[in-house]
């Protein structure tokens, strides 16, 4: 299990614990935790409705991939620390990170 913190649109933070051995994505855990993430395309990095910002822990998680940037670039606003949650695996790399929900879609 890994623990990380999620900050919602109101700025409220909550620690989340998630299994790191089930091949889940951060998007799936956010949805399962009842956060308002649309994830229109279901996790194919094709819609950018699961836009998050990695406030802490980006060094471990790395930057957005090309597939993510293709989508992020279409948004009215994104940040150097932006990711698509569907492309972030739940793994020990997430331990201790802080993830902020972004985007007017969510």
């Amino acid at each position: 299990m890994v623990k990380f913190t999620v900050e919602d649109h109101e700025g409220i933070r909550q620690e989340i614990e998630a299994p790191d051995d089930m091949g889940l994505s951060l998007m799936e855990i956010l949805k399962a935790s009842e956060y308002p993430v649309l994830a229109t395309c279901g996790g194919m990095a094709l819609c950018a409705t699961c836009h998050v910002e990695i406030l802490e822990g980006q060094d471990e998680l790395g930057e957005a991939t090309d597939a993510e940037l293709d989508q992020l670039e279409n948004l009215p606003e994104y940040f150097p620390t932006s990711r698509l949650a569907c492309q972030v695996r739940i793994s020990p790399l997430l331990e201790g990170s802080i993830v902020k929900l972004r985007g007017e879609d969510n």
């Binding site: 395309c41 194919m44 409705t49 279409n74 948004l75 009215p76 007017e104």
Partner: protein, 334 residues
């Protein structure tokens, strides 16, 4: 005014297949979708992605499934209103409905089927003060008729394929085209990007890179747009139109105002017939919810079949419905 038996709101895979199920029961359908093409998410978001859980198809590309569905429903001559959003449903005295779109298209139908998927794909909007004042007064999110922009000054914002394609197209129509993009480079189709650079080098368009939209200017009607560069420097550019092109995002939209029971952006239905709480309005596919709901295309197909059998009594109140197999009766076109 368009008159039909069944008005289907949403022309995604489930809305399309619903036409087939209605057709077998001799009910005619008119479909309305806000996207300019049929196919819903499949055509808009992932046309080239393979789908593996359509019964009978070990693998099928999303757009091929849509094309096949269009072939399958052809015998039943469905009609379409595309690029328009259904804004109002008005119940008539006889129980039927009058549907009105944002472009004032009217459709009279005995039954309404909401197959709206995730809702209406609305354009994403930049966070600008007074944006709503200028919408329709210079700010637009779609190029419906390019002639609107003939001999006008047009600013496009965005870096995706649609921003590139429209910048290229409008460079031959508008008096002046300015393309504003927040980055140094384009990630869109390399051919389109190369063309845009060419046009910029030849002075056919003004290309402003590493800049963001900052402020809209004008009194009632858009006159200028203030941009902010990387090092916070500001420039103001005179323009008649601003077209922000930041992709589409689904919103429930006007469906929320039709008196239906909504739970977390989905319409609650009775699984016996996928009826909503409102007489003669049904909801099928991703837009509905019920205990055990799975958002799968194949589940939507199932819902469409059951729902259309339930709708028969409203279209043919004096007839008895007899269930028939296509293997026995074939497909009898209209």
């Amino acid at each position: 005014m368009i008159t039909t038996d069944i008005c289907i709101i949403g022309a995604g895979p489930v809305g399309l297949f619903a036409v087939f199920e209605a057709g077998l029961l001799k009910m005619r359908c008119h479909l309305i979708d806000y996207l300019p093409q049929v196919g819903g998410q499949l055509s808009e978001i992932y046309p080239q992605k393979p789908i593996y859980d359509i019964p009978g198809y070990p693998e099928i590309k999303a757009q091929d499934l849509v094309d096949n569905l269009m072939d399958q429903i052809k015998p039943f001559k469905p009609t379409f209103t595309l690029g328009e959003r259904v804004d109002h449903l008005a119940k008539q005295e006889d129980g039927s409905f009058m549907v009105t779109t944002n472009d004032k298209t009217k459709v009279h139908a005995q039954v309404i089927v909401i197959a709206g998927g995730l809702g209406v794909f609305e354009p994403r909007k930049p966070a600008l003060e007074n944006l709503d004042h200028f919408e329709g007064n210079g700010v637009t999110y779609m190029v419906k008729n390019p002639e609107t922009f003939r001999n006008k000054k047009v600013m496009l914002a965005g870096g995706g394929d649609s921003a590139l394609d429209w910048a290229i197209y409008l460079s031959n129509v508008a008096e002046r085209v300015t393309l504003v993009h927040r980055n140094e480079t384009f990630r869109g189709a390399p051919d389109s990007a190369a063309k845009v650079y060419d046009l910029a080098n030849n002075g056919k368009i003004d290309l402003i890179l590493s800049a963001n939209l900052k402020e809209l200017g004008g009194n009632g009607k858009l006159k200028s747009v203030k941009l902010e560069g990387k090092s916070k420097e500001e420039i103001t550019i005179d323009t008649d139109y601003l077209i922000p092109l930041f992709g589409l995002s689904p919103k429930l939209g006007p469906i929320a105002d039709w008196g239906l029971n909504i739970d977390r952006n989905a319409i609650e239905v009775d699984t016996r017939d996928y009826s909503t709480g409102v007489d003669r309005i049904f909801a099928i596919g991703d837009i509905n919810t019920y205990p055990g709901k799975l958002k799968l295309i194949l589940c939507g197909f199932h819902e469409a079949a059951i729902m259309m059998h339930a709708a028969f009594k409203y279209v043919y109140p004096d007839q008895k419905l007899s269930f028939k197999y296509t293997t026995v009766n074939g497909v009898n076109s209209f």
